[in-house]
């Protein structure tokens, strides 16, 4: 059984008890425990079930690489799935539940899959569920969905706070083991700005557990002293509980800081996402121990050797009374020695190498631990817990020589450098034959803007084995960087290290090397996704030669742990099966984040009111007071309509249109883009930007204009006013202001850089109010201050003046077909003018109207709307706007494109009005059908609806649409099939439904 030891436990505080719940059962641990160590101390080795076969699984590791011990953490709105017990700090009241089982962890129905495992090999889904086709949708998929997935998805809103933090430094060091600390110490002395982060709560990595002497002191003391030195230095930022999540181009890195996960729910931010721009990045991310592939290596109680050591030394937890160590290297002997010294029983060390010589094996022998060289585990016996191991020769096929009773197995297949961060941004790897591991290829680093590497690697992550190598390597990497930056490196002194030497490992990819199929089918590579040696071999046999294909076919390394334990063993198995070398097979791609990070950290403060900015006009508060129904227009919120009492939106829109046509309407048009263009070449510039002529516009006058892209497509429209001798104000659509401003700047900066033109976006300087309807002139006259008569301010003119004492400019333009004045007023005074217009307009039955009434009135007049009649494939000629395209101008943006054969093709669909025969409203986007079918067997089409409304003015449905040969087919009736199988018949008419001669607007 696993239990708490009376001694050891450097990270726990035995005076501080912590109560917690696991699957509803009350348990107790200590301050400093992880959830995993606390569970083990309560003899809870079984921590979950595997994904596919629902096999019982115990904890394997002690850190971020853990594949099995995944928990549903917390309850209610703080529920979170897939938390690794090994990196979850214990706090009072923590509540955890194991995953992927029903009805309980101990008795699980899904375990049936395990009995069927023979019939569920690699690629089973692909082979089994492909026929018959209909069964996929109705039977297979619902079944697979129900049984797939580990943790449950949270259903409630996350109440916790999160934030981002931007930081800049000369050197970012990821990893707070002795390599990271040595590097930081060296960089600090050289005067670099340093950020040093460590994913765990504690510093020192493996050295503090494995116990070398550094600079004459215990590793733990050296780490403590170095950390203190760094924390007090002004040029170093030290971040514990902060994981290097990803490295991106230009020295950008994401760090994930878990601020309060060790405290439980609190009111301060829980996670912080650091966005670091570093001059250089040093990854000192250490190495991960590899499992060995032998039959039954997934039975709870089989763990990584270093993890067994960690639980004993760090948490005072024994993983078993009798632990068999199985290894191909010297490092695992440390586990045997540590356990023996803690008073536990180590029946044997099974070493796959033919001989075990050197200081560590000698120390083990000195402690009377039996060492069986050249041996292997044939299989582990046990169900929910290890009972014994059967021993065989490593060289053979698995004939059992003896059986050793034990309740834990500590395995070590060697160490793989953590190369993830190095690889995120393109760093290449090289195969280290001696260590049997991939390590960073320092000649192919991720390249920065200057063509040199911006990431380097130090310590065990760089393939270093001993502490003395690790420290020397870390120092040298930083000195090389300092020399690159400043041209000279400072003098430093490398601390002396006392540690036992180690003999080389012997690569072992399968145990025993000739294991028969029955054993291979129980030798796990990927614990979480249930991928075994036999699955990878089958994939190779079936022709999956590429490692990326094998990965997807078998799901090797695709679980939440992203193959941290299984990767190299899987590659080696594949390369053996293919008969090629491991470096030839290569690795799969390493992608950020290193381990999953919270969605909250990614969102940062962007939730609730801060989810996204909402742009508000000067009249926004008034709209809210009227309970306006808003619609988004870009990031603006514009009133769609102003429903009164229980009025429906349709009724409100109807009322607003009718009242504006009959009396007086007010529209908040402040969102309209307003771009000032000025300079001696401004006229020439606008003649290029617009399809029509703007240079000839007279001061005091306005002209409607169209803008196209280089490809000829209609991009934006609006009214241009000439406001000075070399000064024009261009109105754009509400959504187009920023885009058109950027479009103008781009042409000025990149193409016509020698033209004397300046542009400034004045959209927000002015509130804009459209005063519309037969009574529009009267209300302005009542306010008083300027002459708004037909003579003084004719249609398409503008004039500066004051109304009710407020300085403003009035444009006599109309988007509704009514008598209309658009008033631009400094934004700070817009609300005051709005209020005065409402007050003075009361006797003329004034009403505000929203965007839907605006749309209906423009459609009644046949005015196009960018985004309705245009969709990026429509040219002005399609819309009958030839009159707005200058024939005299030599050039304008889009002219050449519009002359291409496809653009002048008479077969292009063209704008017309549409009237249903039964006066109903056509659905938006409906297609008009033509005779026959196309080559795909679909009905041919001859046009589509672009805008469609119920017209309150005309009392019937009106629409605009693009129809083949449309303008030549007036009064023809065409068919629009509906989704319900019926057909609407509509007559082709002029798009101008109301007041075609413009008598109403021109009064």
């Amino acid at each position: 059984m696993s239990t708490r030891l009376a001694t050891l436990g450097r990270l726990i505080d035995r005076t501080q008890r912590r109560k917690f719940l696991f699957n509803g059962k009350a348990m107790q641990g200590y301050e400093g425990d992880t959830l995993a160590s606390a569970l083990l101390a309560n003899d809870q080795m079984l921590m979950g079930r595997s994904f596919k076969y629902h096999r019982p699984r115990g904890v394997v590791a002690s850190g971020a690489e853990e594949p099995n011990a995944l928990m549903n953490l917390g309850t209610g709105d703080r529920f979170e799935p897939n938390a690794r017990a090994t990196t979850t700090p214990l706090f009072e009241g923590l509540c955890a539940r194991s995953q992927n089982h029903w009805p309980s962890l101990e008795y699980d129905i899904g375990w049936m899959n395990n009995l069927l495992s023979k019939f569920l090999p690699a690629g089973f889904y692909y082979k089994m569920f492909i026929h018959p086709r209909p069964l996929w949708k109705h039977v297979y998929e619902p079944f697979i969905r129900q049984s797939a997935g580990l943790g449950q998805a949270p259903t409630r809103k996350d109440p916790d706070l999160y934030e981002h933090m931007h930081a800049h430094c000369d050197l970012l060091i990821v990893g707070g083991g002795v390599a990271g600390l040595m590097a930081a110490k060296t960089a600090q002395a050289a005067g670099l700005d340093v950020i040093l982060c460590e994913q765990a709560e504690h510093w020192g990595g493996r050295a503090v557990v494995d116990g070398p002497k550094i600079d004459g002191q215990a590793a733990e003391d050296w780490v403590g002293a170095t950390l203190q030195e760094l924390e007090s230095a002004s040029n170093v930022t030290v971040l514990p509980r902060t994981m290097g999540a990803g490295i991106y181009d230009h020295g950008f890195a994401l760090l994930y800081e878990r601020l309060t996960d060790h405290l439980g729910p609190v009111e301060t931010p829980r996670h912080r996402l650091w966005k670091v721009r570093a001059g250089h990045i040093l990854t000192a991310t250490g190495a991960i121990e590899r499992p060995l592939s032998f039959a039954g290596n997934d039975i709870p109680g089989v763990m990584l050797a270093a993890a067994v050591r960690d639980y004993a030394v760090n948490y005072g937890v024994s993983c078993g009374d009798r632990t068999v160590v199985v290894t191909n290297n010297d490092d695992a002997y440390r586990t045997a020695i540590a356990l023996k010294e803690a008073g536990l029983n180590v029946p044997a060390i099974i070493d796959a190498r033919p001989q075990a010589e050197g200081p560590l094996p000698d120390m083990a022998r000195g402690l009377d631990i039996e060492i069986l060289t050249g041996k292997a585990i044939a299989k582990v016996k046990g169900g929910a817990r290890v009972k014994s191991v059967a021993i065989c020769d490593q060289a053979g096929e698995g004939t059992v020589l003896e059986e050793i009773a034990c309740d834990a197995v500590a395995m070590s297949g060697g160490w793989s450098p953590v190369v993830h961060l190095w690889s995120h941004c393109g760093g290449k790897l090289t195969w280290d034959e001696a260590a049997a591991a991939f390590r960073p290829d320092s000649t192919c680093p991720p390249l920065g803007a200057d063509g040199t590497g911006f990431v380097s690697v130090a310590g065990a992550a760089d393939g270093m084995q001993s502490t003395s190598e690790v420290l020397a390597n870390a120092e040298q990497k930083v000195l090389a960087l300092v020399e690159k930056i400043s041209g000279s490196a400072p003098k430093t002194s490398l601390p002396a290290v006392q540690e036992p030497g180690q003999e080389p490992l012997s690569p072992v990819w399968l145990m025993p090397q000739g294991a028969k199929p029955a054993l291979r089918a129980k030798s796990w590579l990927d614990y979480q996704n249930d991928v075994k040696v036999s699955d990878v071999q089958l994939a190779a046999q079936e022709g999956f030669e590429s490692v990326e294909h094998t990965k997807r076919y078998t799901t090797l390394g695709m679980a939440t742990d992203q193959g941290k334990l299984s990767n190299i063993n899987g590659l080696a198995t594949l390369s053996n099966a293919l008969g090629s070398s491991i470096p030839d097979v290569g690795t799969t791609t390493f992608r950020p984040p290193y381990t999953p990070i919270s969605m909250g950290a990614i969102a940062g403060e962007a939730k609730n009111a801060l989810f996204q900015p909402i742009r508000k006009t000067p009249m926004h508060a008034w709209h809210e007071e009227q309970n306006a129904y808003f619609e988004p227009v870009g990031q603006w919120r514009r009133p769609y309509c102003y429903p009164r009492g229980s009025e429906s939106h349709d009724d409100a829109v109807h009322r607003e249109v009718t009242n504006t046509r009959a009396n007086l309407g007010l529209l908040d048009a402040s969102t309209l883009g307003k771009i000032l263009v000025k300079g001696p070449d401004a006229g020439k510039f606008l003649d290029m930007i617009y399809t029509n002529m703007m240079s000839t516009l007279k001061e005091g006058r306005c002209r409607y204009g169209l803008m196209c892209s280089e490809n000829g497509f209609l991009s934006d429209d609006g009214v241009v006013a000439r406001v000075g001798e070399d000064e024009w104000l261009c109105h754009t659509t509400s959504g187009g202001a920023d885009r058109i401003h950027a479009h103008m700047e781009e042409w000025l900066q990149t193409e016509w850089w020698d033209w004397k033109v300046y542009v400034v976006n004045l959209t927000e300087q002015y509130g804009q109010i459209a005063v519309v309807g037969p009574n529009a002139r009267k209300v302005l006259e009542d306010l008083g201050g300027m002459d708004v008569s037909k003579e003084a301010l004719p249609f398409m003119g503008w004039s500066d003046g004051t109304l009710a004492g407020i300085p403003l400019r009035i444009y006599r333009i109309s988007f509704s077909g009514e008598l209309s004045y658009e008033i631009a007023v400094p934004a700070g005074q817009a609300r005051a003018l709005w209020d005065k217009l409402l007050e003075a307009g009361a006797k003329y039955d004034v009403m505000a109207y929203g965007t839907e009434a605006l749309h209906i009135m423009r459609a009644e007049k046949g005015f196009i709307m960018i985004g309705d009649e245009t969709d990026g494939t429509v040219i002005p000629q399609d819309l009958g706007l030839h009159w707005a395209i200058s024939k005299k101008k030599e050039d304008f943006i889009g002219k050449r494109a519009q002359e291409r054969s496809h653009m002048t093709d008479p077969e292009r669909w063209q704008l017309v009005g549409l009237e249903t025969l039964d006066s109903s409203v056509l659905p938006d986007g409906a297609y008009a059908v033509a005779e026959g079918k196309n080559e795909n067997g679909q009905r041919n089409t001859q046009g589509r609806v672009t805008s469609t409304y119920m017209s309150p003015t005309l009392g019937k449905g009106i629409a605009m649409g693009l129809i083949k040969h449309g303008p030549d087919r007036m009064d023809e009736v065409i068919d629009f099939p509906m989704l319900d199988g019926t057909v609407k018949k509509a007559k082709i008419v002029s798009p101008v439904f109301f007041d075609p001669d413009g008598e109403k607007q021109n009064v």
Binding site: E605, L610, L676, V759, E764, Q765, Q829
Partner: protein, 173 residues
Amino acid sequence: MSERHFEGSTNVTEHAAKGMITLRGDLESAVLQKAVRSALEVTCPERGQYTQNGAFSMAWMSPDEALILTPHAEADAALAKLAKALDGSHHLLANVSDARAFFQLEGPQVLNVLAKLTPVDLRANHFKTGQVRRTHVSQVAAAFWMSETDTIDLICFRSVADYMWDLLSNAAR
């Protein structure tokens, strides 16, 4: 825009609109520099800088754009003076006082508050009093400068003033 004030680890104040003028022109030309000096008695700022003299100040926005800050009521008069001084040289002047919202953040933690929201390098040797940065603050465009130690002046577009207020007071808790 009305004044509002938040007290937290850092204090945030939204002030009534300032007078602001956008000047576009070649900031390195002697004509422009002289015009600015004679009309407003302000020195034209160097790249990334902010200059001040009494009620008038000037912030560098780009090689051909500067923002001139004045008391709100004086913006039109200042603009007219500048226009006269610049007459005959290619330039653009526009009163943008009402297009902007103006905030002040103040307290010893002010740079840490700002660092939550903006990618600008705020390390002491990279961002000093008298420097201006045109950047984004969380999801919106903004510009800011350190008017004195521990005090940041910040402007953004008027339409997102409420968002900026929520953002700053949230970060300054």
